[in-house]
Symmetry: C2
Subunit: 339 residues, 2 copies
Amino acid sequence: MAEVTKVALDAMGGDNAPGEVVKGAVEAVLKEEKVYVYLVGKEELIRAELEKYEYDKARVEVVNATEVIEMAESPVSAIRRKKDSSIVAGMKLVREGKADAFVSAGSTGAVLVGGQVIVGRIKGVDRAPLAPLIPTARGFSLLIDCGANVDARASHLVQFAKMGSIYMEHIMGVKDPKVGIVNIGAEEEKGNALVKEAFPLLKETKEINFVGSVEARDIPKGAVDVIVCEAFAGNIILKLYEGLSSVLVAKIKEGLMASLRSKIGALLIKPALKETMKAFDSSEHGGAPLLGLNGLVVKTHGSSGAKEIYNTVLQCVDFKDQKISERIRDCIQAAAPAE
Amino acid sequence: MAEVTKVALDAMGGDNAPGEVVKGAVEAVLKEEKVYVYLVGKEELIRAELEKYEYDKARVEVVNATEVIEMAESPVSAIRRKKDSSIVAGMKLVREGKADAFVSAGSTGAVLVGGQVIVGRIKGVDRAPLAPLIPTARGFSLLIDCGANVDARASHLVQFAKMGSIYMEHIMGVKDPKVGIVNIGAEEEKGNALVKEAFPLLKETKEINFVGSVEARDIPKGAVDVIVCEAFAGNIILKLYEGLSSVLVAKIKEGLMASLRSKIGALLIKPALKETMKAFDSSEHGGAPLLGLNGLVVKTHGSSGAKEIYNTVLQCVDFKDQKISERIRDCIQAAAPAE
């Protein structure tokens, strides 16, 4: 039998905590024998939710944590002050080796800071990038980095490219994933200072399948599998994706309500449209991993329901089974043998 | 009677040149008495198109230019070598004061380079930003800068904010336009090095209505009227807007063809949907101006038809009538009285 994957879940994080987190955790335990979950947060609230379900009690452990980090709090001071918060307590389980992964739908900032400070980076990794999947015309691409550490150096982008390639190949099953650097034109001589410096470094990196620049226009077409960029640019891409999709869909819906004729049409197209938009839903593949840490940290959407939590727990199992951390360590450390 | 606005049109630029350029120019001359157009390009081709129409021949002048700058050419060397190209010849008309504005649907790079090199910047303007309108849930916002000069300094962003505000107020009629700087969070302490430096400078700039940071997520909602950013970020926003809109619309269309039921529905919603998408079409307001030059330079879409050309000529009339160049000059030079 394969090894058990132990996942610590922030039972207090996100809009639907603790109900949906507990539900998703129980579903994952029911589905997958080699999963063990810690539900971290206010014990009485978690137990009240757990009572609703039948499950293998030997594989669900409640870890009491009395504090909650709110979305509006400054991440750095919250991580420092709230030692008994679900995020700090859950990440400590990873640091102590009791859990393989930590999952939270709570404050992105606190998850990013906690990941670096509590879980810690793999030796040789300079920055831990946040790498969400974004939907494209052809499936999903990994956008790396969308984290909080802006103004990356060219050498960081090379590490992002390596880590992203490992994730796409071994978790998403994309053979020899195409890596592109976000740029303002397709030519090698184009770009800002950072891109111009990173481009030749990426070109000579043997471990990746670097295909050159990718213009933002071609990202939604699925032109590359791993979209490498500095976090400020990555954040713009991720947030604009969300904002523009929702405004466009709202505009279209508004248009559908314009006349009786279009209203009838809207009723007829509803099921097909729903199916189409579902293909655009990255939460089917779990949350956004924070890569390069001594253990996996995953940020799920603040609006996560049980299904996203469930998918994220299975993502953690894949991450362990596929030895992603070990692969990242070996790949990064091979490039810096002096360390 | 108001002064005549003289517009030089690149009759060779874009996918539909010279036919649609000539058609749009003639329509503008027919509509607006105080317009004079130069059609710059291969004379025999232009005259063959002109023969199709009735118009006031005293206000249409053909300027022969035998060369064409192709899309794939390096802009810098093309501007230097092809002295008899429609872009170089048209821009020279502006430099010599014979034309107030130059309009091209051709190579963006060549238009940007030619604008700086041939037309030249207003004294005190450090960079001439390209400022397209992008559609939002509430109308249109000006995205400034999307040009070719990346890695702007904080002081450049302040100038972009001033120029963008003048354009939105006097051309688009937005009173006291809200200015936001593109950032990865709403708080003042967030951002990359450039944004952190620019934020306090923008805050103390009296001539603008600075409202703080704007997250990419809120751009499509129309959160601000003038979106200030460095050109690399602006290019990502502009191109992702185009790419994501077209992929989403294609996905939805694909969904509509999924079943007989949805196909019937699609027929019923078609007119309403077309109307909705039309509200998202920025070409109704002309092309993207390159601001801060000694005269107006406008880049229209490569796919421009007669209507976009027509609208752009009227945009040039507004630009002159509203004295945008003079306003920009006064505003920028007031900040640097030592010059």
